[in-house]
């Protein structure tokens, strides 16, 4: 038995509809519970009494929308998060990637860049970075700017270093950054071949053929319909027998694409496109 929607649920639906119509950011197929929490946090931070009053402000003030966007997206991530994932890329994906003369990799939903820099470091150590073009995409322009800057908080370096070592890193992690701008500034050569771009998995289409797509802890915020759309984009973008990496609790089982990818490393959530 489903209940009638509560006031706040009605207001939330109206807010995301307004944001879509006005700013063309499509949060309509995001899962409700976490979106609601984030809107409530935004409401408090932006000193609005109700979601409706937040909506009114956002409607008439693009700056307020830019502020709300920072709450709606989730820039919580870390470098080499789930080290086993990166270890599995080294051992099970890199041997295939090595066979291509040039590579295209898509980091979808790259947030503030932690994963981009992690992958770039891995590729450099495997001798692949020079011939790789990385597309790092996100919907949040502030996150993309942070990703471009490549300055990580110093107090996170201990965790990132530990992760890096567990992920099969072959050098001293500190080789990759210098202390600057009150943080750890990552080596610019890592992102020489990275294109940071605004791209929405909810509304945009495929822009390139890629060999490997990494999209981690992004689809958990989407309902099944949007997850399906996104897997469709990935399937279309990936080359014959291309590789897909997801977050450690994400699954393709519920999607119509379940049969079109095969698991390569089940626990690490690495998949490979099934041949035609």
């Amino acid at each position: 038995m489903t209940k009638p929607p509560s006031d706040i649920d009605i207001e939330l639906r109206m807010l995301v509809e307004a944001v879509y119509l006005k700013y063309n950011y499509d949060f309509r197929d995001y899962t409700g519970a976490s979106q609601k929490r984030r809107v409530v946090v935004a409401m408090r931070a932006m000193e609005c009494e109700t979601v409706s009053s937040l909506q009114a402000r956002v409607m008439h003030d693009p700056a307020a929308f830019a502020q709300l966007l920072q709450f709606l997206t989730i820039p919580v991530t870390e470098m080499f998060r789930d080290p086993d994932y990166y270890l599995a890329i080294r051992r099970q994906v890199v041997p295939f990637l090595e066979t291509y003369p040039s590579l295209k990799i898509w980091v979808a939903g790259c947030s503030t860049g932690e994963e981009v820099y992690s992958l770039a470091i891995l590729l450099q150590e495997e001798g692949l970075l020079e011939r790789t073009l990385i597309y790092a995409t996100d919907i949040n322009p502030a996150s993309l700017d942070a990703a471009r800057r490549g300055v990580m908080p110093l107090d996170r370096m201990r965790l990132f270093t530990e992760n890096y070592q567990k992920a099969g890193g072959t050098r001293a992690f500190s080789d990759y950054y210098t202390a600057a701008y009150g943080g750890a500034l990552f080596d610019r050569s890592l992102v020489e071949n990275v294109t940071f771009a605004d791209h929405s998995l909810a509304t945009d289409s495929v822009f390139a053929e890629t060999h490997f797509i990494s999209c981690r802890n992004v689809m958990i915020y989407f309902n099944r319909r949007l997850q399906n759309r996104v897997l469709g984009l990935f399937h279309e973008s990936l080359c014959h027998r291309g590789f897909l990496g997801l977050g450690s609790k994400e699954s393709i089982d519920f999607s119509t694409y379940a049969q079109r990818f095969e698991p390569l490393a089940r626990r690490e959530r690495l998949f490979r496109k099934v041949g035609a």
């Binding site: 509560s6 899962t31 409700g32 519970a33 984030r38 989730i74 919580v76 099944r224």
Partner: protein, 207 residues
């Protein structure tokens, strides 16, 4: 109401008129032992879903679902993103992600920042469950050493759900139940043994 001697009949009286749809149980320090005592009270074919959350170290695979699956007469699973929530199944939250219940009564995971230093946080699970099930929800909070869960229990109570807190004197660590009692004025404060008596009764009040 606090009583280690509360009778079955009094427990039943407290549930009178309820239409229960789901049970959510939270705990932290001492929680594994508490659940090992509590969950075996569930019979096979129990007619409600039971969702359990204990605080876990973030970077390790959780073996809780396996551990309890071997010991209980009903299936025990780790809650999966977008997974259905079925009656007769005990679910455990995995490490490293918040666990929520959506309006359509499926699970969802998220990487929002920790709450009370915890991810998964009991507050997040309980607040979203209160949204999804409203008066149909029973929230149970057990032993623990921090304040997570108190807010979630208060939200369950505010949405008309039924709230049960382990008696702090009976808990391995009383901090968590004490804070919940302070915040949510629970319907029942019971020692673990009596929560064990309550649990199988709940399905008789299924909506």
């Amino acid at each position: 109401m606090t009583a280690s001697t509360i009778t079955d009949r009094a427990l039943q009286a407290s549930l009178q008129g309820r239409r229960i749809e789901a049970v959510v149980i939270g705990g932290s320090a001492g929680g594994v032992d508490a659940l090992l005592q509590l969950l075996p009270a569930l019979p096979a074919g129990y007619d409600l879903p039971v969702v359990c959350m204990l605080h876990l170290p973030p970077d390790r695979e959780s073996r809780l679902a396996e551990l309890f699956d071997e010991r209980l007469p009903l299936p025990v699973r780790e809650a999966t993103d977008k997974g259905d929530i079925e009656a007769g199944t005990v679910y455990f939250a995995g490490p490293g992600y918040h666990l929520s219940v959506e309006q359509d009564r499926t699970f969802s995971l998220s990487c929002e920042p920790p709450v009370h230093y915890a991810r998964p946080a009991i507050d997040v699970l309980m607040a979203s469950s209160a949204d999804a099930w409203g008066p149909g929800l029973v929230g149970i909070l057990l032993t623990g050493a921090n304040h997570d869960g108190a807010d979630g229990m208060a939200q369950i109570r505010a949405r008309g759900g039924f709230t049960v807190v382990q008696d702090p004197a009976d808990a391995q660590v009383g901090v968590m139940p004490m804070e919940a009692i302070r915040r949510c004025n629970p319907h029942l404060v019971l020692p673990l043994a009596r929560i064990g008596a309550l649990l199988p009764m709940l399905e008789n009040y299924k909506s």
